[in-house]
Structures are given as structure tokens and as C-alpha cells.
Amino acid sequence: MLPTSNTLPGLFLKMTSLQVLNLSKHYGNVRALHNVSFAVDAGEIFGYLGPNGAGKTTTLRIILGLVHADSGDVRLFGDRSKAAAAREAIGYLPGELRLYGNMTSLAVLDYFERYRPHRPAVLRKKLLEALEVEQAALSRKVKFLSHGTKQKIGLIVAMQHDPDLLLLDEPTLGLDPLVQQAFREIVLDFAARGRAVLFSSHVLSEVEAICGRVAILRSGEIVTVESIENLRSKMVRRLEVRFRGVIPGDLSETPGVTRIQIAGNQAVLWVQGEVNPVLRRLAQTDVEQFVFPEPELEDIFLSYYQRGESSNV
């Protein structure tokens, strides 16, 4: 476990670390963001989910003052100030991470640490261990590192000073599954110690695995901001079943099944919310093969189209 914070448990739960209010941004004639609003509380891992090009990176860049919004506002720790000092308590991992190729990994970590004289890299050692960065990689020049190791160094740059707000743009890109798991534990620990995390991703399953709430972005607009539980209950998921015998005629009447498509002895079922009733019904039949693929972003968008909850998407 990472070192514990001095923050009193419970106190941070009421604090809002980040508020994004009605952000809009155009690049020429292209609309990148339109009236995007959400808030991230201390101790929360907030998922920011959307397909590539939805506007996730633009939002993060506006939060950091890298990109200027056409309208709207960002409040960091309740303050509207965009001064550089506000970034003292922020850690950021860009989606397209680039580091100085001619510096060694260790020099990179030291270099970025020196930008925060009041926040030393207290977590570096633990992070190096947790992310399994070998000692040899630290003395190697960045340009000779694998993509995965570079990503680990980027994560450590973002987190080594134990920031109060962590902004992560597609953080698991290039990490192998074991390291991804270790990374998730680190992020969960950050939240447990009262740090706020904005976790931007286009992969639904990883957001679902660690986030408490999620904002879903499409074409620059927020489709919904939901708790993960609510999202799961509204999500339409797809089941593919191949039967040995005849397909039961009453499958479409099973609770949760919103749509069914039959071809020969195969059926595709779209199930909303709880899948147990469907599984129980299928257990009474002669199933040859059963596939329950990972839900994808498009499944969520489909859910919201069908529900008509977001008419403008």
C-alpha cells in the first residue's frame, strides 16, 4: 500500500476538487466541446468515457490551461485561478506521452520533480516497485525504452508527488495486463487516500472496473453522468447463444430482453440491466455455445438512443 495521507477520512468526501462548467470549444468550424459540465470530488475516481475524437483530451487540456475554451469555466479546488501554482497539486498523464529522448528515465523523473519544490516525489519508490520498473530501465535513455516502459515513466511523473488531483488520459495504453492491474490498485489507493482522479478512456471495461461515476462524451457533448451501478442497469448488453435443439419461442418474453435476432439455431439477445433472469431461462434449455462479449461504448450509446434520454446525441 502507498503511504497514507494526513487528510481526515470523511472530510475530503465533501470537497470538490474539480468543477467543469459549460465548457465549449471550437477548432475553426469543428465543434470539439459543447456545454460540457461535470465535477469530481475528492476521494472519487471519475471516469471520462468516449470514443476517440469525442473531446476527452480537449477537456483535459482546457482544465490544465493548455487549450483556451470559447466559453465556460474550470474550478480547481474551488478556485477559478488559472495560475501555474494551481497545477502544483495536479498530476497529468497526456494521451500521447512524449518525453525527452536523450534523457535517462531517472533524469526525467528528477527533472519533473524539480518543478514542485514543495511537493517532493514521495511516491516514486513505491510506484517504481508497483509498476515493476527495473533499475536498468532507469539508467537507460528514454528513446531506447519500450512503449510500455515509457508509459510507466509517464505515470510515475504524473503521480510521484502524490497530487491531489490526477488527470489521466488513456493511462493503460501499452501496459501489459498484469501492470494494468497494479496500476488500477494504485489509482484505487489514491482515491482511498482522498485524492481525486479523472480517468479518461475509450475502454468501457477499465472505467467500469475502477470508477465510481462516469461521464459519457460523444461528439463533444456529455451524453450522461451516471454512477457505474446506474450505468450497468441501463446498459444494453449482447448475448450470443447457439442451441442444440429448437430455439425456445418465449425467449423474447424473458425479463430484460429488449430485442432478439434469430438465424438458424443461433440467437442474439440484447439484454438490459440484470442478466440473471436470462441466464436462468437459458439454463432450462439445451445450449451448445454461449458468448457474452465485453460491452462496448457503442452498446451504451445504443442504450441512450433507445431510451431517448439524450435526444441531441
Binding site: R61, L66, A84, Y92, P94, E96, L97, Y115, R116
Partner: protein, 266 residues
């Protein structure tokens, strides 16, 4: 700010040391060349064989009467000396913003507690320091060369004025290229634009001096405000050219700073 400054020194150390050594060495070699042969006689002989137009250009512009001092002054107007100063000014400016955007590091850098103004000022300070050291190294080359080869030394004031003139000319190239760099995303394009402007300025100066009917172009060339001959030989350099170069540097830097604060990164 010191963190970034240290990084800039490490990054540009080789390029700068090479430039310093080259300019200083070049001025030293000019002194060596002047002392080793009867350069004035040789050039006078050479000039007799040149067409009148070329003679007027080469003689009046660069050799200032074919004296030893005139030839030493020519060392400061030589394309190698000018290209070195211009390269340092332009490369530093192109790399400062467009180059860092191109490398992709600027996004991570400006997400640290480092304001854009601090970033900009650090790069500008570093460039000013580099150009100042470059100018001093060139002057040191001339001074040491004169001492070593027993040439009549220039007055300290003249050498200082020369260093200031050289420094301000290349500060202007830095500032002008910074004004391009704040719009750019690729250092190659920004450098090319900077070098093209410098080249046009040089050509305009030559044309303006060659043909009296084109003399009206001279005020539009930054090279017209740089005159080693006027400082070292004729002692006619006034403050106005220095003021023009300083003003252009200030205006371009101010504009670049203003624009950099407003642009989106990357």
C-alpha cells in the same frame, strides 16, 4: 525557471560551444591571415582584375579601403560570421516553441507548475545570454588575434560597440523567428521562414548598396543596421542603428509573448 534554464543549457551546450568556438576561431584566423601575408597588396592586385561593378561591391562594402583594419572588419561581415549568429538566433527561437510542440514535450511541461510567461522568458533569457556570449567570443577572437599577431589593436569601446551591434542584429533574428515560432508546430518550417527572411534582408542590403537607385530599400534590411566597418574603421556608427535593432527585437518579442499566452497547446 532555473530547472528549465539548466535543461536548455544541457540541450544546446554542444551547438553553442561549437558556434562560440567557430566564431572566435574564425576571427582569430582572420587576424592570423592579415598578419602572415601582405593582404592589402594581394587584394589590391586582385581588385584590379575584377569588373568595376564587383570591385565597387567587394571593395567598398567589405574591405573599406583595403587596410588591415578594414579586412578585420570584413571578418565580421563575412557570411560565416553572419550565418553563425543568425543560426544561433533562429535555431533557438524555432526550437523554443514550435520545436517543443513538435517534440510533444511542451504539453507535459506546461502541465507542471510552470507558467507560459516563465517558459517564454526563460527561453528568451537563455537566447539573450547565448547571443551575448557568442558576440563576446567573436570579439575575444579578434582581440586575442590582434595581441598574438602584433596587429594594431582596436579601442575597447569600438570592440564593445561591435559586440553590441552583432548581438542586437542576432537578437532581432531571434525575436523575429520567435514571432513565427508562436504560430508554428514544426521547428523546420519556422527555421526555414526565419532563414528566408534573413537571406532576403542580406540580399536587399547588397542590392541597395550596389545600385544607388535601390538605396531606398536599405532601411528595410536589418543588415543595414549592422556595420562593422562603420564601427571599427570609420568610427561613424551612431546610436540610431542600435536603437532600431533593439526596438525590432523588443516589438517582436512582445508580440510573440502576447501570442504565446493566447495560443492553444499543442
Amino acid at each position: 525557471m532555473f530547472n528549465l534554464l539548466r535543461r536548455l543549457m544541457a540541450r544546446h551546450a554542444f551547438f553553442l560551444l561549437f558556434s562560440l568556438a567557430l566564431l572566435g576561431g574564425f576571427q582569430y584566423l582572420i587576424c592570423a591571415a592579415v598578419s602572415s601575408v601582405n593582404v592589402s597588396g594581394a587584394i589590391e592586385e586582385l581588385m584590379k582584375n575584377l569588373p568595376p561593378l564587383t570591385r565597387s561591391l567587394v571593395g567598398e562594402q567589405f574591405f573599406s579601403g583595403l587596410t588591415t583594419r578594414g579586412i578585420l572588419a570584413f571578418g565580421w561581415n563575412h557570411p560565416i560570421a553572419l550565418a553563425l549568429g543568425t543560426a544561433v538566433g533562429i535555431v533557438l527561437a524555432a526550437r523554443a516553441i514550435a520545436g517543443e510542440i513538435e517534440s510533444g514535450v511542451l504539453e507535459l511541461l506546461l502541465s507542471q507548475p510552470l507558467s507560459r510567461m516563465s517558459y517564454f522568458l526563460t527561453h528568451t533569457t537563455f537566447a539573450i545570454f547565448s547571443l551575448a556570449v557568442l558576440s563576446v567570443s567573436g570579439v575575444a577572437g579578434t582581440f586575442i588575434g590582434q595581441e598574438v599577431f602584433g596587429l594594431e589593436p582596436f579601442e575597447a569601446g569600438a570592440l564593445l560597440k561591435l559586440a553590441l551591434n552583432f548581438f542586437l542584429l542576432h537578437c532581432a533574428w531571434f525575436a523575429l523567428t520567435m514571432a513565427f515560432s508562436v504560430f508554428g508546430r514544426e521547428s523546420g518550417r519556422v527555421s526555414t521562414a526565419g532563414f528566408l527572411v534573413a537571406l532576403v534582408s542580406y540580399v536587399v542590403q547588397v542590392i541597395g548598396k550596389l545600385w544607388p537607385s535601390s538605396a531606398f530599400l536599405l532601411p528595410y534590411s536589418l543588415h543595414s543596421y549592422y556595420s562593422p566597418q562603420a564601427i571599427l574603421v570609420e568610427n561613424t556608427m551612431e546610436g540610431k542603428p542600435l536603437l532600431v535593432l533593439f526596438s525590432i527585437s523588443l516589438i517582436c518579442t512582445g508580440f510573440a509573448a502576447w501570442r504565446f499566452r493566447r495560443r492553444d497547446i499543442p
